[in-house]
Symmetry: C2
Subunit: 182 residues, 2 copies
Amino acid sequence: MTPPEMPAEHAILGLLSLDDGAGHGYDLARHFGEGQPLGGVLRLEPGMLYHHLKKLERAGWLTSTVEPQGSRPPRQVYRITDAGRGELSRWLREPVAHTREIRLEFLVKLYFARRFDPALAARLIAEQRETCERLKQSLASQLASLDAAEPEDGQTFSRLVLELRLAQTRAAIEWLDRAASS
Amino acid sequence: MTPPEMPAEHAILGLLSLDDGAGHGYDLARHFGEGQPLGGVLRLEPGMLYHHLKKLERAGWLTSTVEPQGSRPPRQVYRITDAGRGELSRWLREPVAHTREIRLEFLVKLYFARRFDPALAARLIAEQRETCERLKQSLASQLASLDAAEPEDGQTFSRLVLELRLAQTRAAIEWLDRAASS
DNA sequence: GGGATCATGTAACAGGTTACATGATTCA
DNA sequence: TGAATCATGTAACCTGTTACATGATCCC
């Protein structure tokens, strides 16, 4: 489970959890459109949304029932399970491992953490900051050992790569500090 | 062709172009391993590499011939075509559209631009800087219009999203400025 | 009557990841 | 004898994108 951790599926769990634990596809879809705060971070087309709902049900994190609507087409109503709530809160407590995941997955975590509980959001931000700080140290030491070795072909390029990562990580840390005080 | 532009395939074109225009899969694979400068940016498993080689041949950017080796297994030798060289140089002159693409695609472009011609690298960096600068202005104005509107629910979160993008874009610009002078 | 909205999907395709298959040869 | 290297791939699986299919109802 190290690589992606699927932010889309956790976002669905989060929305259902905020919304009394239940909802249907069409309703959830609105949150992932333009103009919506979540839509500014994570775009989800209807096709993928329905796909994720089925996957979450297979995983035991949702259950579904059909609700006839009379005139309207019947709704497939999904309800989050205890296992689903457990998975959601586990996910909300873990910072992301890589700087590149901050743009998408961390922002989604932050969105829900803030809505659930400001203290949870504060802890998440603090732990993400620590993770980034460790990464920064690691990158800095890699840079130092590059400088210590004798100059090789391609060494200038490798330094540029490390410097870019370092710059992005530093920017993330500064942003996290501002995020902590809002 | 707007979204990905497949850096892996252009990297293969670039390697062949540097290496007298021809090479075989196993040989190319070494450049994408650990310790190699390109491998620090773009990891390519053998399976995907051979897949890309066939795709590039279908596109007319490579041709292939079989070279028997006597004792060793025969090699499939790929040679870059004029169309392939054209595509490569087109790609090398275009900056990437989004900040998130700098980490992978722009770095690959930069790697080859530097090896082909320092002047090409300098132009690429300058154009990428302009693209980032335009992005920065756009983000800044989006932020300003958010602040001008009356406070809504979720507006704080949307501001955080924009501030993160702005911070990452600013960091990229500063890095590009350092890259220009090395 | 015609378009937007409600509501749920399927199909086709593109791309990536991991693991495995094959089989000879060179080297410790 | 056994591991690493040379050399090329296939298979299964997952994620994601785009477009389309269906059919009713509400509102102008």
